[in-house]
């Protein structure tokens, strides 16, 4: 019997225009939604216009959460999982808002970055279509459109473009007085953004496309002819069917769509833009059909927490996705991928062997791994000050599955470090806290050491063993060629390592065939 059978949870998403909650249980084979609630709010509007959330709105949100928590209790759920994305994240008084919820409602709101949210959504989407070798998942959000290319279920590459359905609809509206060809305006706008995301066209070499968004239900009804169960079902639309719909709807105005389907203008604008976008996707790829489904953050949270094995799979996929994303970035910046991979391999051995000493988590291990892959990215722009340049590139990068805070830590791991006590500034103008500093210094010293072991970039050494003996750390290396340069680098890195971990570094070099002293 499935371990999770009968497990029930509730998940809340504090979005820009509404607060949603789903309560669902796992019946052994699938997620069954028991309750779906939605209360409209105007948080997004308030934040986008004033930059903060008024206390009146905070209290109103708090009341909604109180009601949702009470309803959760009816299912014997102690506390719902509560998430938020853009609207809350962008508020300048976010800390006060979160504090209010923690004190008044006893809920900890997880504020997700776009990357995290996308990762959750893409993971949840996998259960909505039959598996295929290569699939392009596309999520049409209000502010961004996210792409993820998957191969056999593993994330190969991700990309976001900074325009969403809402923005495109606005552009269409604003240009309507200049042109009656709204579909062309939409296509051109999208193509512009797609061209910025250089890797996008590689993603379009795919076997299948899955398109999802949170508010696709009205479009699904149009495509299907009648309503489908938007909680679980996926509609398959052939290219011919899409062409027919496109041919019919491209001539219509948003008002006409609204009247025909008894929708409001926002929904109708969304439908128009989505139809054009889907047609563009189909035309740009060789795909003959696409899968369309409705999914939102709440669905994604339920998937993660209910489906047996989902969390483990998600964590693994996250790791692979993050690494894959980092490798793509390293490739883009012409890094020595073999060296990067070798440094990562060495650093992770050191990390694992020194776990009792540093006490860090698997998530932090991933940050180290990513730092190793990207530690020379800066050579693309500035060979003289490569590490600083790497810091800048990484700090501003979008890496799959990582919050911006994580990429900042990675950037700091890579950046040149004065020995302890010197803080780096983050991009908001603040500083890393002490805990972060300690973490960064530990990881930097490991990265530095691993880099030294492969100083020549020739992959000469394999790390056979790492042993701690009192205040000494003994590395056993097997090398294949002359190791003089590396020995020199090791001496340089030993000092930093000793400052951070309090261990004197020593090593035994075994040449392939015989042992040598250091």
């Amino acid at each position: 019997m499935s371990k999770n059978k009968g497990k029930i949870i509730s998940a809340v998403d504090i979005g820009s225009s509404s607060v949603q909650m789903h309560i669902a249980q796992w019946d052994g084979q699938r997620i069954v939604t028991l309750d779906q609630l939605e209360k409209p709010t105007h948080v997004g509007q308030e934040v986008f216009s004033t930059g903060h959330i008024s206390f009146e709105t905070v209290r109103s949100l708090s009341d909604i959460l109180t009601g949702f928590c009470a309803l959760s209790k009816e299912y014997d759920i102690a506390r719902p999982i509560v998430m938020a994305t853009t609207a809350l994240r962008e508020a300048t008084n976010l800390a006060y808002v979160l504090d209010h919820f923690a004190v008044t409602n006893h809920v900890n709101v997880q504020v997700l970055e776009d990357g995290e949210a996308s990762a959750l959504l893409f993971e949840a989407l996998k259960s909505r279509y039959p598996s295929a070798e290569k699939v392009l998942q596309v999520y049409g959000g209000t502010g961004t459109i996210d792409f993820a290319l998957l191969q056999n279920g593993k994330v190969l590459f991700t990309q976001s473009i900074q325009t969403g359905m809402l923005k495109i609809a606005e552009v269409m509206r604003e240009t309507s007085e200049f042109s009656r060809y709204s579909d062309l305006v939409v296509k051109e706008h999208l193509t512009k953004f797609l061209s910025h995301a250089g890797q996008i066209y590689k993603m379009l070499e795919t076997d299948g496309i899955v398109y999802a968004s949170a508010d696709i239900a009205p479009l699904l009804k149009i495509l299907n002819g009648f309503e489908i169960n938007t909680g679980t079902d996926t509609l398959v639309v052939s290219k011919e069917e899409m062409q027919k719909i496109y041919g019919e709807y491209k001539r219509l105005t948003v008002d006409q769509i609204a009247r025909r389907h008894k929708l409001d203008l926002a929904q109708s604008g969304n439908i128009y833009v989505t139809i054009v976008f889907l047609m563009l996707l189909l035309d740009s790829t060789g795909v003959n059909h696409l899968y369309c489904t409705q999914i939102n953050l709440v669905n994604a949270a339920l998937n993660l927490n209910l489906r047996q094995g989902a969390r483990r799979a998600f964590n693994e996929n996250m790791r692979e996705g993050t690494v894959s994303s980092a490798l793509k970035m390293a490739e883009h910046y012409r890094c020595d991928l073999k060296h990067a991979g070798h440094v990562a391999y060495l650093a992770l051995i050191l990390f694992d062997k020194l776990k009792k000493l540093h006490g860090l988590s698997r998530q932090q291990r991933l940050l180290l791994e990513t730092a190793c892959i990207l530690h020379e990215a800066g050579s693309f722009t500035n060979t003289a000050d490569m590490r600083e340049a790497s810091f800048d590139l990484i700090k501003n990068a979008q890496i799959y599955g990582l919050q911006s805070r994580m990429t900042l830590l990675i950037a700091n791991i890579v950046a040149p470090q004065d020995i302890l006590g010197i803080a780096q500034s983050d991009r908001r103008g603040g500083v890393l806290n002490q805990e972060d500093m300690i973490f960064v210094n530990k990881m930097h010293s490991i990265l530095h050491l691993a880099d030294a072991i492969d100083e020549s970039h020739l992959g000469k050494a394999r790390l056979l063993d790492v042993k701690q003996d009192g205040d000494q750390l003994l590395l056993t290396l097997r090398v294949t060629e002359d190791y003089a340069l590396e020995r020199y680098a090791l001496i340089q890195s030993a000092a930093l390592f000793q400052e951070v971990f309090g261990l004197k570094l020593d090593y035994i070099v075994k040449k392939a065939g015989r042992m040598e002293d250091k």
Partner: protein
């Protein structure tokens, strides 16, 4: 399009109730009960509908779909109501004569023997006089405020100068309406006002009594609470107080009422003569129900149809397990209401039950439902109760229940602003080994074990996931947690019920035009919505056979050439009040059946939260269709509406079929069969 005016249609309905009292072959107390019901109905009609027309006639002069202005309606209604009341008086005289043959009499003081007079006198001095307060009316003492539906004695006196003086003696409503005078055989009832009148010279002893008469006042109760308030309960309490002080809409006078006294009362009460009715020896005929329902006189009533235990719930130790096997149906009052109470009670004590939610519209006096909900809350379950405070004339009751439930720890809510919650649902959330399961009871009738013995209603138990999801969504909407959802199974007013009916009727029209089987069969308490009626006319013109069992008001005119040749309208009256709502559509040979809380009136479809639910299980669907079929074959209690807007008794051709008795037999048969089956196991 032709439509029948609402109030006139209602008066026709009440005439059908009166017809039950006029049946010469009915037992006399059965007749008396129906007479009392017709009087009670009429009281409420005046308080609400006539009051409404009075207001409308002051403010509006436009004509509605019936072609009448409010003033024209009011005039016709008053005339018709007056004639009706005359018929009531005649009927009462007839019944009293029949009762007298059985030695049951309503008497005057003069009819009493000396010992009986002594008894009456002692009673008067011991129990009645202490609570009497005669009120003289003069420039120093203004005319007293007389409560709605109060019975009074008006007195005209003469002073030494021969001038008229007036007084009013209110008959205390806390005392029994009819005093039982000891007799050797039979029963002797003395109306309390007659006893008081006999002692008027002692009560009003300062002047000579020139004349006296009995009168009764009916006041407008057409007040609705202002929904736009922070405290609905307080607002309801204020509304109830206001209702006691509404303007008079009827003045009833006893036969032979003194002319000067009449003029005096008319002036004091500000009543126009068209609102005055003078006839009966017994005012407040509704109170005759006390005599009609006396337990030891049951031989003078019709043999009651008693509920049998529901076959499907026999030897049911675990009601949840029973519902899990399949959907179950109960037809009250033929089948006992106990399984519904058992369901709620079981939920209240089951440790696996996490939450109970219920809508309460009209609740009975000694409500076991309320007790069960209190117990559930006290044992830690999440109990949510939606109490409709605005259930007219039950407001005080409901305020009481709401307060009690809140004290027990229930989450009591009052529904949505501007909408009365009329749906009847109970939802139980239960944790089971394979997860959460929701059990539902959906019904056409209220959670009231008293009316469940008097009204016909149908309820269904189910634990199917989609119904559970819909019920949850509905409660979330009613509790304000969520905006109106999309429903899978339920049809909910005011969101989409009217559209549902119109679409379904359109579906039958389309089928008829394609020569596919088509048909509409409704059973409801009222049909008043003109949009739906118009659509039914359309259906008739398209050739769809339409059969409507409308117990009360019907605005649609059947059998009119060119409009409604294919429509037939019948109304059934009997021992029970027909209350269930059934909506069936032929659907090209695959019938679809729905049950629900809503009638076909604008208030149901536009201004209330109502639910309709499909009966999907084939055997249950057949059962409901069977109920409709049997009702349509009724030739004992059935009336048919003609194109001339007159109801006529359905002629009894062939076997006598009383649908209520037949349904009772079917329930008893099912019970016996089930009992035998279980004995064999």
């Amino acid at each position: 399009m032709k439509f029948i005016e609402r109030e006139l249609s209602w008066l026709d309905f009440n005439a059908r109730v009166l017809a039950e009292a006029q049946k010469k072959d009915s037992p006399p107390l059965e007749r008396l009960m129906f007479l009392a019901i017709s009087a009670s109905n009429l009281d409420e009609f005046f308080m609400v509908r006539v009051a409404y027309l009075v207001d409308e006639s002051k403010n509006r002069t436009d004509r509605d779909q019936t072609g009448m202005t409010p003033q024209e309606k009011l005039d016709k209604v008053l005339q018709k109501a007056y004639n009706f009341q005359m018929r009531q008086v005649e009927c009462l005289d007839e019944i009293l004569a029949k009762l007298a043959e059985k030695k049951i009499k309503i008497c005057a003081i003069e009819d009493l023997s000396d010992s009986q007079k002594e008894f009456a006198r002692d009673l008067f001095y011991d129990e009645i006089l202490p609570v009497l307060t005669p009120l003289a009316v003069d420039p120093a003492r203004p005319f007293p405020f007389l409560l709605n539906q109060s019975l009074n004695i008006g007195v005209r006196m003469r002073d030494d100068a021969g001038e008229n003086l007036y007084a009013v003696v209110q008959v205390p409503s806390i005392l029994p309406r009819f005093i039982m005078i000891p007799v050797k055989t039979g029963r002797l009832f003395l109306p309390i006002e007659r006893l008081i009148a006999h002692y008027l010279p002692e009560i009003c002893n300062l002047h000579e009594i020139a004349a006296y008469g009995y009168f009764r006042i009916t006041r407008s109760a057409d007040f609705d609470a202002d929904d736009d308030t922070d405290d609905l309960m307080e607002e309801m309490k204020r509304t109830i107080k206001r209702r006691r002080r509404g303007s008079p809409v009827r003045l009833q006078l006893s036969a032979g009422f003194d002319g000067e006294l009449y003029n005096f009362l008319k002036k004091m009460l500000g009543v126009n003569k068209k609102f005055v009715v003078q006839a009966s020896k017994i005012l407040s005929m509704a109170s005759l129900s006390k005599i009609a329902s006396m337990e030891d006189l049951s031989h003078l009533r019709a043999k009651p149809i008693l509920p049998v235990p529901a076959a499907e719930f026999l030897e049911c130790d675990d009601i949840f397990a029973r519902v899990r096997e399949r959907d179950l149906m109960l037809h009250h009052p033929y089948e006992s209401f106990n399984p519904v109470l058992d369901f709620i009670k079981a939920a209240s004590v089951d440790p696996n039950v996490l939450a109970i939610k219920q809508t309460l519209y009209r609740v009975s006096g000694k409500s076991e439902v309320i007790s069960a909900l209190e117990q559930a809350a006290e044992s830690g379950k999440q109990v949510t109760v939606l109490v409709e405070l605005k259930a007219r004339f039950d407001e005080e009751n409901n305020i009481q229940w709401a307060t009690r439930l809140e004290r027990a720890g229930c989450h009591v809510i009052y529904g949505l602003t501007g909408l009365k919650t009329h749906c009847k649902i109970t939802l139980v959330v239960r944790r089971e080994p394979d997860g959460i399961r929701r059990y539902l009871h959906l019904s056409t009738g209220n959670y009231n074990d008293v009316t469940a013995r008097l009204y016909t209603d149908i309820g269904m138990f189910t634990c199917r996931a989609m119904f559970g999801a819909d019920a949850s969504a509905l409660f979330n909407h009613l509790t304000g947690f969520s905006r109106p959802p999309e429903y899978n199974k339920l049809i909910v007013a005011p969101e989409n019920m009217k559209r549902f009916f119109l679409n379904k009727i359109d579906g039958e029209i389309k089928n008829a035009k394609k020569n596919l089987p088509s048909g509409i069969s409704f059973k409801a308490n009222s049909l008043l919505d003109y949009t739906v009626a118009q659509k039914l006319y359309e259906a008739s013109k398209a050739g769809v056979p339409v059969k409507l069992l409308i117990r009360g008001i019907c605005s649609l005119l059947p059998g009119v050439k060119g409009y409604s040749e294919n429509i037939r309208v019948r109304s059934i009256l009997g021992q029970f009040l027909e209350h269930s709502r059934i909506y069936a559509f032929e659907n090209a040979g695959e019938p679809q059946v729905y049950l629900g809380s809503a009638d076909l009136m604008p208030r149901n479809l536009d201004r209330r939260v109502e639910q309709l639910f499909p009966v999907d299980e084939p055997d249950l669907r057949e059962r409901v269709l069977g109920i409709l079929d049997l009702a349509w074959r009724d030739n004992v209690g059935a009336w048919e509406l003609g194109p001339d807007s007159i109801y006529r008794k359905v002629e009894q051709k062939g076997a006598r079929i009383c649908s209520q008795r037949e349904l009772s037999k079917l329930a008893a048969l099912a019970y016996e069969q089930k009992k035998k089956e279980l004995e064999h196991i």
